[in-house]
Symmetry: C3
Amino acid sequence: MSERLTLHPDRLLPVDPGVREIARRLYAEVADLPVISPHGHVPPAWLAQDLPFRDPASLLITPDHYVTRLMHASGVDLADLGVGRGELSEEDSRRAFRLLCEHWPIYRGTPMRLWLEQQLVEVFGVDVVPSAGTADAIYDMVADWIGRESSRPRALMDAFDIEFLATTDDPCDDLEHHRTLAEDPSFPRRVVPTLRPDKYLEPASATWVQDVDRLGEVAGQDTGMYAGWVAAMEERRAFFRQRGAVSTDHSHRDLGTEPLADGEAERLYAQARAGRITADDGDRLRRHMVHETFRMAADDGLTMTLHPAVYRNHHPGTLEAFGADVGADIPVSVEVTRALQPALSRFGTAAGLTVVVFTLDETIFSRELAPLAGFYPSVRIGVPWWFIDAPESIKRFRQAVTETAGYTRTSGFIDDTRAFLSIPARHDMARRMDCGFIAGQVAEHRLTEDEGMQIARYLVTDQPKEVFGL
Amino acid sequence: MSERLTLHPDRLLPVDPGVREIARRLYAEVADLPVISPHGHVPPAWLAQDLPFRDPASLLITPDHYVTRLMHASGVDLADLGVGRGELSEEDSRRAFRLLCEHWPIYRGTPMRLWLEQQLVEVFGVDVVPSAGTADAIYDMVADWIGRESSRPRALMDAFDIEFLATTDDPCDDLEHHRTLAEDPSFPRRVVPTLRPDKYLEPASATWVQDVDRLGEVAGQDTGMYAGWVAAMEERRAFFRQRGAVSTDHSHRDLGTEPLADGEAERLYAQARAGRITADDGDRLRRHMVHETFRMAADDGLTMTLHPAVYRNHHPGTLEAFGADVGADIPVSVEVTRALQPALSRFGTAAGLTVVVFTLDETIFSRELAPLAGFYPSVRIGVPWWFIDAPESIKRFRQAVTETAGYTRTSGFIDDTRAFLSIPARHDMARRMDCGFIAGQVAEHRLTEDEGMQIARYLVTDQPKEVFGL
Amino acid sequence: MSERLTLHPDRLLPVDPGVREIARRLYAEVADLPVISPHGHVPPAWLAQDLPFRDPASLLITPDHYVTRLMHASGVDLADLGVGRGELSEEDSRRAFRLLCEHWPIYRGTPMRLWLEQQLVEVFGVDVVPSAGTADAIYDMVADWIGRESSRPRALMDAFDIEFLATTDDPCDDLEHHRTLAEDPSFPRRVVPTLRPDKYLEPASATWVQDVDRLGEVAGQDTGMYAGWVAAMEERRAFFRQRGAVSTDHSHRDLGTEPLADGEAERLYAQARAGRITADDGDRLRRHMVHETFRMAADDGLTMTLHPAVYRNHHPGTLEAFGADVGADIPVSVEVTRALQPALSRFGTAAGLTVVVFTLDETIFSRELAPLAGFYPSVRIGVPWWFIDAPESIKRFRQAVTETAGYTRTSGFIDDTRAFLSIPARHDMARRMDCGFIAGQVAEHRLTEDEGMQIARYLVTDQPKEVFGL
């Protein structure tokens, strides 16, 4: 007989009975508030076209590197999970799904397990634990769900009560999907683009010259010269803002913002255009341009989110066989205090600027981020992200930053996912953990319960609106 | 109606009822023990002259960068808080105080909130929560308190039961205030200076030549030559010791102690005197002199406290407008094992030496400091300081160092503050947190409760006396 | 009257009564399972010759740098503890033992205290707390115990139920003791060697040329040339495997695995043979050879354990007077993501490879190790080791790695000790802490209790067998 799968109403709340009581009351206040998702990777086409999802594996497994990477570590070939393959046959989808169910025990203790369970129970109505024996039946339930009208992306925006959703987009994107959504009176929910200019800012990358050529074309600027590069970026920012964007997103290996001396940017830019820039000079020119980006952001008010310090495609064989973003990106340490100083010294107190620094390197929470966000009005501490978007990590995050920066200097939760169906579960986890943390402070008489209630609501309502200017 | 402000007797004690019981008993043992404050920044003039405090804002806000920085991050202009302005008019003081009360919610979850609450209740007898509505009434209570005879600094030394207080002083200081205090039979409490030679040890700093000239004058040494620099520093140490000093304090960007080869110090010194030393060579000469300082300390027994790795005046505009020490100093990472090796290899087992390493970089607690202090008789682990002098941070500190170094290798609590009135609250917080940590160990049967009692008392009585040679 | 010494059955279990109940049930399942010890430093001669232990100090103090270092920090001369002295007279042994008992309070809060207590009570039957007053009586009990037939090493392997024990051995070792044990039908327990080639892989070390000459002789290879160096190492691996080895152990200052360009290894090898290699080039050649070691391991299946980033013999005076491994080794920070990339890019998904990365730098647990082990089938996260093999550290470890890597990507506990009698206590501590952590997850409804039971058993049975190919 199969084991029953249920969601305990107290899951993730603190174990001490007294604290749990408080946490329950706090959580009850925020459990059903709308979802604000100001940073993530849901493809806008899904919502613009409102097509049904394809198949269970393409829905729950293939695009979710959190899920596939741990099976890979356990010896499963990514090919057998359908990664990097496009459309999957029924047979292939079913096989991938079976592999997930068979490997269910490897997710014990991880958030992936909790997110998937919540989806299985709340979205698909599954009530058995995934296993080799239950895989096919669960597959059928998911496939059946996919076929329903109420499972279309737009209907889910309502079902999940997602009030605001930001996607992540290439500066050259025409944002037609976003226009479609904005102009459709039958779809009142807000879906906005986010400008992610990384590849146009890495002058030493192999594709940079052609990338920047394309950018120039789209922006109607001559990117043959340094000034055109800057102007093109400014043009795209203006276009994105016009299409509703509230932020830009940046993910380089370091956070450097050192500007170049007069004339140096032009000189390095010319070298880069000629394909003769060194890796070091490419970094210098990129840091200069990030500095310029702070200036632009202070001017136009687009919030900057920084997601630094990841070694992308750590395993080249996997990149070749399956492409990028399949779970082979590995964090490295990061430095903030010195790196951001040049930009913050100029723009750190500018009224228009908001910079959210996310990190996979927890050491900077108490050492650098909380002190910076506790002084600069423009700096916000990004909530836990990626590998550390998980219960214990969220606890460590609040423990590390609250004492220096309070509750008001963080960013509000972001789900940062392309796994659309997991969005409610991710936000729910964050709310539970924040309520648990606050409850602990109430129980230790550091806060009154009334204050705790205010904070719990603030973190899921006003804070993201403040930070992303909604 | 205003909300009532009270202090819960169990605040900050562990939430588990069984552990809290134990913690209460431990805390009861130490709650009323005298305060020993071997490192801080109270101006000695306050005590020597025993003048009344000025006004509520100058007492509680302006000098406390912990308090002002978070308002600054929330958009308050430091000018409106009276920072860097000297005397404040009644109107200005009241306005600054109102800003604090209006921004009360931003301190939720921070130690500043807890320190301020404890002062409001225990010192001023306030019983309403600060807010826009209560600001003026609270201001009046504080102003009234300031006017009383019993609110003078010396009376507070008694009221707070501060047994020992060290100030922080420039090597060129004549220490007249300390002499006044030491020679006054009506003031039996011990207030001693601490030598802080940082600026005389940074040969690449802009003011170094004139600083060292002045040092030479005061010390009666010719600092035109390297030998005179060393001799001048030795002379000032002897003078400080004579005036009661028990320690010297050092805060450079790194902890390097590499000595220079024969003749190299003289050569670099001459370059520095000529204003031609590079930043790197300035660092090398400084590290050499810090090495010499270990030698001096092993000889004369002055405890060395090291407070490294802060990027001072991160925001130049703020430095220009408001001066230093207004909340714009940001930590950077620090390395200890390699940095201290040259000095410890020579003096680490010397009987006379005590070196206390404080840190804002928590990563070194378990990785470097506890292992070092668990081997070298001269090395002590500084208790949490500055940004991490807070409940969760204190918990993490004990969790990180105790297993490698036990309880006997730490430094005893230091308040490190110029906010005189907050001293009792800071020590009280440390005592509560330490008792909570020990209580957890008792509850897990790692210690007996008797042992816990001994440890709790030791940490606030004998340990600071041992470490600072009192 | 002396204080009674007892072991509380719930020691180290979580304090919350509900969680403790669960933890007790989990612990009951694993408390008595056999010990698997796949990495440690017990001398194989002890078991091969089965001689009685010498004296109480030589048994419990002298060889245990955990114990001696903290007394050293407290001002005890290592000479008085018998460190580095060989045979001890009855008088000297008794004096060392007395010093330990007198210094008993310095171990409060440390695992050494818990390990020693468990040995005193469970092995020797001591029931009084060590102190100046009880030292001699306890000494006599230990001395009496040593004299018994049942206290011989082989009998203890049975008494402690050590199913598998790996020692650590020089590549030139003839492994005669291991052969003796393997061929003795009266000794059915498995004791295997581990190849530790460090010193043969540091071409810039002072003794390297003679070390490698010796290696060549033993391996029957001409190590005059680079190819012979590689071949010699391969030969020794084959020999160790034949004698039962399941792993090799590596402890360099960094984890670098960058291979050299064609011909460069030969060139640097020739320089090293001529004694003219720089420290930097020595590191480069070593990293190349470590890269080669990954290749060998992928071929022959010997698990690689990496124990990097320790500053050995930090205090030269202690090295001179007492030799190595006496407690003066201090950790430094370590980097993994970039360092292992060259080797993992080639061998990271090879079926035969298993690499366990241990660390004293906790910052890499969530930032680098868990992400790496959550992707690469070959990478395992080493459990806490050395300074962080302690209750709070074990808790932090599970909290840091489980959310990214689950329970299945860790290594299984290793005791890593030469203190033979402490092995059961160390494994017991790890089991208690793991059960406590799992119990917390059960109480927060992240796992069912059944799952918790499976995990608790897995961590002490199948996991080490998987990782070390037993």
